[in-house]
Structure formats: C-alpha cells, structure tokens
C-alpha cells in the first residue's frame, strides 16, 4: 500500500535546490556560448582553437567511439543495478532468507556477466594515440566517463551502509550507528575504502605539473596561469566543494556523523579513567588552537596580523568556554554544540586525508583510472554489498553476534579480492609481454 502523499511544504527544499540547479545550468550555457570558438576571442582561447583543430580530426576513429560507448554502456547498466538495490536494501530487515537469496541471485547474475566482460578484454582500456592531445571535446568526454565510472563505484559502496542502517535518511543512518554502538566503518571497511578511493579518483584533482584534469584540457594547465585567473577559479572552487561534499557523506555514512567516539559507552572505564573524559576534547581542542594563535600573535611582524591572530585566539577561548558550558546545559544544547564540533572535525579530517592522498600519489592516466574503477571499485562495492547482506541476515535470523558475522564476510571479501588480484596481475603480465604497452 502506498502511503498518503506528503505535505507540499516537505518538498520545499527540493524545489529550492531545483531552482538553484536550473540557474546554474542557465549560467553554464550562457558562459559557454559566449566562450565558444565561433565568437571572436583572442589570447588563450584562440591559441587553444588553433592548436586543437589539426589533431582532433585524426581522433575520431572507430576505436575511440567504441571505447566511449563501452564506458557509457557499463555506466548505464550498473546505474540500473545500483538503483534497484536501494529499495531492497531499505526493506531488507523485513524479509527473510528469501529476500537475501533474491538479492544474491540478482548480484550473482550480474557479477557473472561482469566476469565474462572482463575475460573478453572489454575492461582493458588500452592507451591510445589520443592520450595526451590537447583536444577540448575529447577531454570533456573522458572527464565525463571517468566521473561516471568512479561515481557508480561510490554510490554502490553506500548500499552496504543502507543495508546496515535500514534507511536512506542521513539522520537515520547516524541514529543507527548510535543504536548499534559502533561506527559503520568497522562493520564495512571494504565499502569505506571503495567509497574513499573512488571519490578521490572521481574528483580528478588538478596538479600543477600535469594536464590530465578534464577542465584543464579546456583552459590550459594550472601552472600556465595564475591561480587567480578568472577562468580557472570555478574549477578550483568546484574541486574544494567536491572534497568537502565527499568528506561530509563519508563522515555521516561511515564515521558516525555527529557522534562522539564511544558515544554509547557512558559507564565504562578504561584503565580507571571514565570514557566521559572525551567530552572535554572540544574545549581542549579550542584551547590548543587558541594557544597556537597567541603564539603566532607574538611572533608576527605585521601589527595588523598580530591583532588578527590575537582576536582569533580570543574567539577560540570564547568557543572553548561555550563548549564547557554546554556540558552543564540541557542535553539538546550539548548535543547540538558538541555534535557540531565532532561532525566538523571529522569532515575536516577526511578532507585533509583526501587532499593528502591526491597530492602525494602520482597522477596516472585516464585509462588506468577507468581500469581501476571497472575492475576493482565497482565489483568490490557490489561484493561488499552482498557480504553485508549475508552478515545482516546472519545477525537477524540466526542471532550471530554482529561483530563475528561482519568479520567473517569482510574476510571472505578480502580473500576473494586477493585471489582476483593475483589473476589480474598474471593477466596483465601476459598482455604486457604480448603487446609491450606502456602502463
């Protein structure tokens, strides 16, 4: 039975969001129309056009078309798979073993298909002559293909979380982590790794010395222009925004959102110290930051900077007192303030880790990213979803302890992953010896 229609006021955030999206689309169309080569532009855009015209003609061979079609077909079909799994994951606690078997049969059929596709060599993504050419349209299509592929992997990894939480609402997911007393990253570590890694790959962060970011193909490399170049600014801003968005989703889904570490263990003591001492962490953190600001304030040359640092230090001291006062306030205020502190610190920690990852690891080619996404990330995410489904069913029907059931399935997934890795490495060696390609 369908539930009655919700009040229209409940959909107001959606309408606002839709209006913002429509406005952004309109702006994008207007901007691209004014920047297109047909319009008389000089300088960098004209140089781009003159450089790109000759090589781009040679690119559109059958191989390029087939490669893009393959990426698009995989993206479309796996989107359907992932989208079908969400309603089932939400209702998973209501169905018995029959439901679990249905999901496993569904995933089994599709993973068998993916295994055949892998054997046929459709997931090889060999490098082509077009790899380093400066063509805008090709760069845009490649960017779209890699974004879609890594995005599917990230969304698929969230199915494990929905299975564990039983709801798509972010409030409910954090509440479920509070109820079950443990952050979901410990229940589904494979899903977390897949989400983090594929989101990092999807971001396609630009680096100063490489030309592989999709938007860099259009406006030129990051090093060729100042960071304040107006044409590049939206690209950088989009990357920062994406980083924080990914960190926020990872925090809510895997890291317990706004929960304090050991949020449920209110009575326990470790080595004689009560766990409640963690409640002082927000105040101590702000005091430490305030001390850092005061130290900076003393050592800076510029008088205005010194005043600014001292002011910020004072602000941090005020926040520390607010956090301490919240401990004695009604529970609602304490939850709000401390929850905000824990949530923001987790988001910033994730964003820092993401930045570190993307700047420390060497940038590889687009082909390697597609290979990683389709051979590893997407299958691992789906297998992790199957494993978590089995674990949840074990916990429900046969009352296994959640720790044991999830540890068992995670171990099974890791063994399967290692087995696949060895076969994949052997296959790559064989193909490299055969064709002598450069990775």
């Amino acid at each position: 039975m369908l539930n009655p229609a919700p009040m229209p006021s409940e959909f107001i955030p959606v309408w606002i969001f839709a209006a913002i999206v429509a406005a952004l689309l309109a702006v994008a169309f207007v901007v691209s129309r004014s920047l297109r080569p047909g319009a008389p532009v000089t300088g960098m855009a004209q140089a781009q056009r003159e450089n790109a015209s000759a090589p781009e003609e040679a690119l559109w061979e059958g191989a390029e078309l087939a490669g893009f079609y393959m990426a698009g077909a995989l993206f479309a079909i796996l989107s359907v798979v992932v989208l079908f799994l969400f309603p089932l994951a939400v209702e998973f606690d209501r169905v018995g073993v029959v439901g679990l078997l249905a999901i496993l049969v569904f995933l089994g059929i599709l993973l068998a298909g993916c295994a055949w596709v892998y054997k046929e060599g459709a997931l090889d993504w060999p490098g082509s002559r077009a790899a380093n050419l400066d063509a805008p349209l090709l760069g845009a299509l490649r960017g779209l293909a890699s974004l879609g592929s890594c995005g599917i992997a990230a969304v698929a990894s969230l199915i494990s979380i929905v299975l564990l939480a039983g709801s798509l609402s972010m409030n409910q997911i954090v509440a479920a982590q509070s109820d079950q007393g443990i952050w979901f990253i410990f229940y589904a570590p494979v899903a977390f790794i897949v989400f983090f890694a594929s989101s990092a790959m999807a971001m396609d962060r630009a680096r100063r010395d490489s030309r592989n970011a999709a938007w860099e193909r259009f406006v030129g490399t990051a090093e060729a222009h100042q960071k304040t170049d107006s044409l590049q600014a939206p690209g950088w801003l989009a990357e920062y925004a994406g980083e924080f968005l990914i960190s926020a989703i990872a925090t809510v889904a895997f890291l317990g959102g706004w929960l304090r570490p050991f949020a449920n263990y209110r009575q326990e003591r470790f080595f004689g110290i009560s766990v409640e001492i963690l409640d002082t962490v927000p105040s101590l953190a702000f005091l430490a930051v305030a001390a850092y600001f005061f130290r900076l304030a003393r050592r800076h040359e510029n008088a205005r900077q010194r005043r600014l640092m001292a002011g910020l230090g004072g602000l941090c001291v005020v926040l520390a007192t607010v956090m301490t006062a919240a401990l004695f306030a009604p529970p609602g205020i304490e939850q709000g303030l401390h929850g905000a502190f824990w949530f923001l610190s987790k988001v910033f920690a994730c964003a820092w880790a993401l930045s570190w990852l993307e700047h420390a690891l060497p940038r590889r080619s687009w082909e390697r990213r597609m290979r990683l996404a389709w051979r590893w990330m997407v299958p691992l995410a789906l297998v992790s979803a199957a494993g978590v489904a089995v674990a949840v069913m074990l916990r429900q029907e046969w009352s296994w302890s959640p720790g044991w059931s999830l540890a068992l399935t995670t171990l099974a997934i890791l063994c399967a992953g290692v087995w696949f890795a060895e076969r994949d490495a052997a296959r790559e060696e064989a193909s490299e010896m055969a064709s002598g390609e450069a990775g």
Partner: protein
C-alpha cells in the same frame, strides 16, 4: 494532488509526440530518442495511476520501465556503433538511409 486527468493529458501528449517522431524521422538516433520519449510517457501515466489508486505497483512498474529503457538504449546504440565502425555508415548522421 490535483485531478489525475491532468497527468493523463500530459502522458498522452508526450506519447503522441514520441510516436510521431519514431515514425517520421529517418535518423536512427532520433528514432531511439523518440522511443525513450514514449516509454517516459508511459511512466508518467503509471505513476499518476499509482498515486490515484494508492498502490505502489504502478511506481514499481515505472521503475522497471526506466531500467528497460536504459537497456534498450544500450542495445540500440550498440548497433549504431557497430554500423559506424564497419563503415557501413560514414557517421551517425549518415544512418538515414541504412535503416
């Protein structure tokens, strides 16, 4: 919700446009797009009926239709890609006379 008749009118209008496009156009890709439009019209009809009768069956059927449309787009565009690769058509816009 407003009267379901509004949604049925919209659905029939889109359906008619889709049929006109599928039968009249000669380019294969445009025909495929018209077929997606027809399926979309059916989905609107099903969703409106589902809300009308208060049952989730119509919306589930619409989900299956959307999935079927994606699979059909994959297969149809695959045929087009195969034709272009075998040089039976110079490009996707040359498919006017091969079909």
């Amino acid at each position: 919700m407003i009267s379901p008749t509004h949604y049925f009118f919209l659905s029939f209008a889109l359906f008619a446009i889709g049929i006109a496009g599928a039968l009249a156009r000669r380019n294969a890709i445009t025909v495929l797009m018209s077929i997606v439009l027809i399926l979309d019209a059916a989905s609107i009809n099903l969703a409106a009926s589902s809300r009308m009768w208060g049952s989730a069956d119509g919306q589930t059927f619409a989900m299956f239709i959307i999935a079927g449309a994606a699979a059909e787009a994959v297969a149809g565009l695959g045929i087009i890609v195969a034709l272009v690769r075998r040089d039976q058509a110079g490009s996707t816009s040359d498919l006017d006379r091969t079909i």
